[in-house]
């Protein structure tokens, strides 16, 4: 590719350009920190009761009393957003973590042992992937019942195929490398090899992928709650807030917009952080 080399020589800086940890990255980290803090410390913060209905103070815009205004039942929007972040973050983080564990294990086993185990695992993943994810999630929740546990498990289940793929790909990339073969030759058991040689190398791309997964799952929870099939009421959730706010768009748009903005910024932040870390750690992108 002589000609390509000619142009490639000057294009090298472009291709090798990694997203440095600029201010956008740190801004995203800060935002995630803020939201996490709010979710964890909600009880301790000077917030109104998110379920407190006050028919006199309905649909009020942002004011000194209610920083983000009130919704159609007079509930304080700010506190509902903060308490709602609990649902979204809890579901998002826990589901992602469960998918990480299950998918990571399956992917590692499949990539290491190959053969029948691999074929069977990937075929099972294919069957799961044969369903449009939202439809499957809805069906499972419809049948199983609507509560936090079911929601979390369902979302985790739907994320397992993707995690498995990432883990398997990482495993395949290094399973044939010398240090693994050497370890086996020295008599290390399968378990030892997997834990000591493979796992440390697989964990990093998997963790980075999980960050992006969190973003996807927060949206997923949002959609389900928007449809009324996610977090069960009266628990606040960004999705359900947006659903309720939809009715009030003409008189009080802030009811829908505030949770929307918060959710958007949170999802964007996770995406940014995950994507930046991935472009830094992915050996394909980093090489010239």
């Amino acid at each position: 590719m002589a000609a390509a080399e000619m142009t490639g020589v000057t294009d090298a800086p472009r291709r090798a350009r990694r997203r440095s940890l600029g201010w956008v990255f740190w801004l995203a980290v800060v935002w995630i920190g803020v939201v996490l803090f709010g979710a964890l410390a909600a009880n301790l913060l000077p917030l109104e009761d998110p379920s407190k209905i006050s028919l006199l103070a309905r649909r009020q815009g942002p004011s000194a009393l209610h920083l983000f205004g009130t919704d159609h039942l007079g509930r304080d929007v700010l506190s509902r957003v903060v308490y709602g972040s609990r649902a979204s973050l809890a579901v998002g983080l826990i589901s992602a973590f469960l998918a990480l564990l299950a998918g990571g294990t399956l992917g590692l086993l499949a990539g290491y042992f190959r053969g029948r185990l691999e074929s069977l695992t990937m075929a099972a993943m294919d069957v799961l992937l044969a369903f449009p994810p939202l439809v499957l999630a809805l069906a499972i929740i419809a049948y199983l019942g609507q509560d936090m546990v079911n929601l979390t498990l369902t979302l985790a289940l739907l994320s397992v195929p993707a995690s498995t793929r990432v883990a398997r790909a990482s495993t395949l990339a290094i399973a044939e490398r010398e240090f693994v073969v050497a370890a086996r030759a020295l008599g290390a058991s399968h378990l030892r090899v997997m834990l000591r040689e493979l796992l440390p190398n697989v964990v990093l791309p998997l963790l980075v992928y999980t960050l992006i997964l969190v973003a996807v799952l927060i949206v997923g929870e949002g959609v389900l709650s928007f449809l009324g099939l996610g977090v069960p009421p009266p628990m606040a959730s960004w999705g359900s807030m947006m659903s309720e706010g939809r009715e009030q768009l003409d008189v009080a748009p802030h009811i829908a917009f505030i949770p929307a903005i918060v959710m958007f910024l949170t999802v964007l932040s996770f995406n940014l952080v995950g994507d930046t870390l991935r472009s830094m750690t992915d050996p394909r992108r980093a090489a010239l």
Partner: protein, 332 residues
Amino acid sequence: MTLALLEVDNLCVELPTVRGPLRALAGVSLRLERGRSLGVVGESGSGKTMLSRAILQLLPPRAKVSGSTRFDGKTLQALAPEALRALRGKEIAVVFQDPMTSLNPVLTIGSQIVETLLEHLGLAASAARLRAVELLASVGIPEPERRAGQYPHQLSGGMRQRVAIAIALSCEPRLLLADEPTTALDVTVQAQILDLLARERSRRNMAMMLITHDLGIVAGRTDAVIVMYAGRVMERAATRVLFKQMRHPYTEALLAAIPKVEDAPHTPLAAIGGTPPDPTRPAPGCPFAPRCRYGRDDCREAMPGLAGLGDHQFACWHPLAQRPLPWRRDGR
């Protein structure tokens, strides 16, 4: 002195890279008359491919170019992009090294010829298609109508290169730049392709620049040769003169590196030891000095300019003695 078709004057090309500026060409000059052929010989990294790109004005935008290139009296650097575009493919044509990558894999062979004809000659589509089939036949491709509808990967390497040649010749160019046209091909096919190029050249009285790393290829097929190393011209001469009376040690080393049929079996190949210099860190003296068997201290200190008699010039402080040089491995 008649106006040469192609005149390159002290062409320097510098490319910015992550490791600093890369000096690809360091003052190359050459003349090519109408209908004559010039061999450009050098190792990888000698700048020979960069030379063809520079002539075509197809360097990456960040390249720094100085010196001038004149085609038919017109200074190419000064031409507007549209005028340049009209020249390329029509007056100046190129054959690249690897026909597998230089032909678009998802377009038919025929369409890749036709588009050139349509662009430069303004033929009607049907006339262009007919002409394309004629061209394929003229470069020796059997069943040209059928082949015109095929895709590059359906042809063998040699046939693909014939197609590339057909494309290059389609608009009757006055200058053909053949950039390592046979390097990617089987040895058995190489001679056929070179013969094809020679035949077409003489038939059309077309000027040709044959760029290669193989000194053996230019013997008997070119009128003159320039030998390049590290972005410079090391020696230039009429072909016969070069082979009989080479003066530059690098030329001698290149010749010695060619395996000969009459050698005894298992004769070791006389490869040139060492590697070409790093173009991002040019040294002050002659670039070949570290690898030259005759290298002395003054060679490393200053760069020799091109000097010599008439058409035979060489850049060396201590050129080889002026006598016919037998093709001996020990270099005496």
